[in-house]
């Protein structure tokens, strides 16, 4: 009898803290639920506010239509229409039939007083641009901010960004040529020498296992990567001794240091610009629907997606891209005729100053 009583008593005493905890949990659960409801309402209101802002951004604005481009902007000296006329062919040639979607995704451009002291309303939608931008800069702005839907994660990661039309196509491809000959990587050099497998490796299109060894197979290359790109990063705490050994020529330390880096941090033998130029080639080869085909299967390997977009095998795509890069070899230093005239002009000026100096007068 007493034992049972005692038991009940003990269970009661033991339960007290747990009961306290339960009430606390219930309180928090109620609060969490009400916050969740408040959040759902707040998000709905925020979405409404955003759409109202978008509508406001169109009120009293002109809509400029060039091809599928729609640019909603306020009246200003900004040469938007001319810039759109220059930008559209580049955009159309890159995205092909996908560029038609841009009619549903207009640019919002607010041209503002270039005087930075002038009062401005808070910008909620689109871009704010000083109205004294020239035609070239405005065209560049349109090309670099095309409101095209972003690509899937896999493609964006491989490209490290969004695919945009090229502003200086020839210089871009010329840059790839320079990378071929200057990148401290045998993969890039092999690509330059005509080994398409090396090109595929250097572009990160092939087998991604043992990428460090594939991209930088020799000890000097690995040391160059560590000392060139990560000297400051590794020069702290535990990795500092390894860095010193690496600089002193111990390859094991260089390799260990590079292995300790996340994969996407390892410098690519050929830059993102090279990858972008390859995609542009694929889209050019693939014609109108190439961009849609490129985005069709986000699960597929990038190499297969490029081949699908271009309508040719990866090897021939890469080979064509390489040939184009070699053909775009930058011109050697040249002396334009006007430079000679300028030089002679300066010589005359200084000579005149010298001869007219008072020191010559007796």
């Amino acid at each position: 009898m007493f034992r049972r009583f005692g038991l009940l008593l003990i269970l009661g005493v033991l339960a007290c803290p747990l009961l306290g905890q339960d009430t606390l949990i219930n309180r928090l659960r109620i609060r969490s639920d009400s916050l969740l409801r408040t959040w759902q309402q707040a998000v709905a209101i925020a979405n409404l506010a955003d759409s109202l802002e978008r509508e406001r951004a169109t009120i009293g604005r002109d809509t400029i239509a060039v091809g599928a481009l729609r640019i909603i902007t306020n009246a200003s000296p900004l040469p938007v229409r001319q810039a759109a006329a220059l930008a559209w062919p580049a955009i159309d040639s890159l995205y092909g039939s996908a560029a038609a979607d841009l009619a549903e995704r207009p640019y919002f451009i607010r041209a503002v007083d270039p005087d930075s002291n002038a009062r401005r309303a808070v910008l909620h939608v689109g871009l704010e641009v000083p109205w004294d931008l020239d035609l070239r800069s405005t065209t560049t702005l349109l090309l670099t901010t095309v409101p095209i839907a972003p690509p899937d994660r896999a493609l964006a990661t491989w490209l490290t960004g969004v695919l945009r039309p090229s502003i200086h196509p020839r210089e871009d491809v010329g840059g790839v040529y320079l990378e071929f000959v200057t990148a401290p990587s045998q993969a890039a050099r092999g690509c330059f020498m005509g080994d398409i497998a090396s090109c595929i490796d250097a572009l990160g299109l092939g087998d991604t296992n043992h990428q460090l060894e594939r991209w930088y197979p020799s000890a000097p290359e690995r040391r160059a990567v560590v000392t060139g790109s990560f000297a400051d990063f590794f020069d702290h705490g535990g990795s500092a001794p390894a860095l010193r050994e690496c600089v002193a020529g111990r390859d094991a330390s260089c390799t260990a240091l590079l292995r300790s880096l996340p994969a996407d941090v390892l410098p690519k033998p050929l830059s993102d610009a090279a990858r972008v130029s390859l995609v542009r080639d694929a889209l050019r080869l693939g014609g109108q629907d190439a961009y849609r085909r490129l985005l069709r299967d986000p699960e597929a390997a990038i190499a297969d997606r490029l081949a699908e977009a271009a309508g040719v095998s990866v090897d021939s795509l890469v080979a064509g891209w390489r040939n184009a890069a070699l053909a775009a070899r930058p011109a050697p230093v040249e002396l334009p005729w006007w430079a000679i005239g300028v030089a002679l002009g300066w010589v005359t000026v200084f000579a005149g100053c010298g001869l007219s100096s008072s020191r010559w007068r007796l």
Partner: protein, 141 residues
Amino acid sequence: MLITIGLPAAGSAQNRWARQVHDELQRALNVVHAHGGDRPLLDKEGTLNQEESASFTITLREGVSYSIFGVCDEDCSRLRLVLATLANSELALDRTSEGFPVLQFTPRVTAEYRIRVAMEECRLNPCWYAAGVIPSSGAKP
């Protein structure tokens, strides 16, 4: 003979400090029981940080003499045991026996009493404690 009340030891029975105080209290209760004591009325285990206390009530019967024990784990160097009325007027306390306070008490009236266990010194918080109440003699039917 070993007395076990079959406490819901929860998670605490799993670690060695809980086992230590559990075993020590059982030993103390066994000793009293072996010398004519009755079955224990109460066996309470728990944890307290230094300067914290726990209290619980129990009904004690007039004329029965009770032994009230407290034990605490190896990190505890002073455990205080107090028997008081529900109105908190202290009837008996032991603060001298450090880790093993013992109270002997025979109530004049059958009533509910409060037993308070205070963790006065604990080197590594929390300290496990156990308290037990057992009629030591003269239990009436």
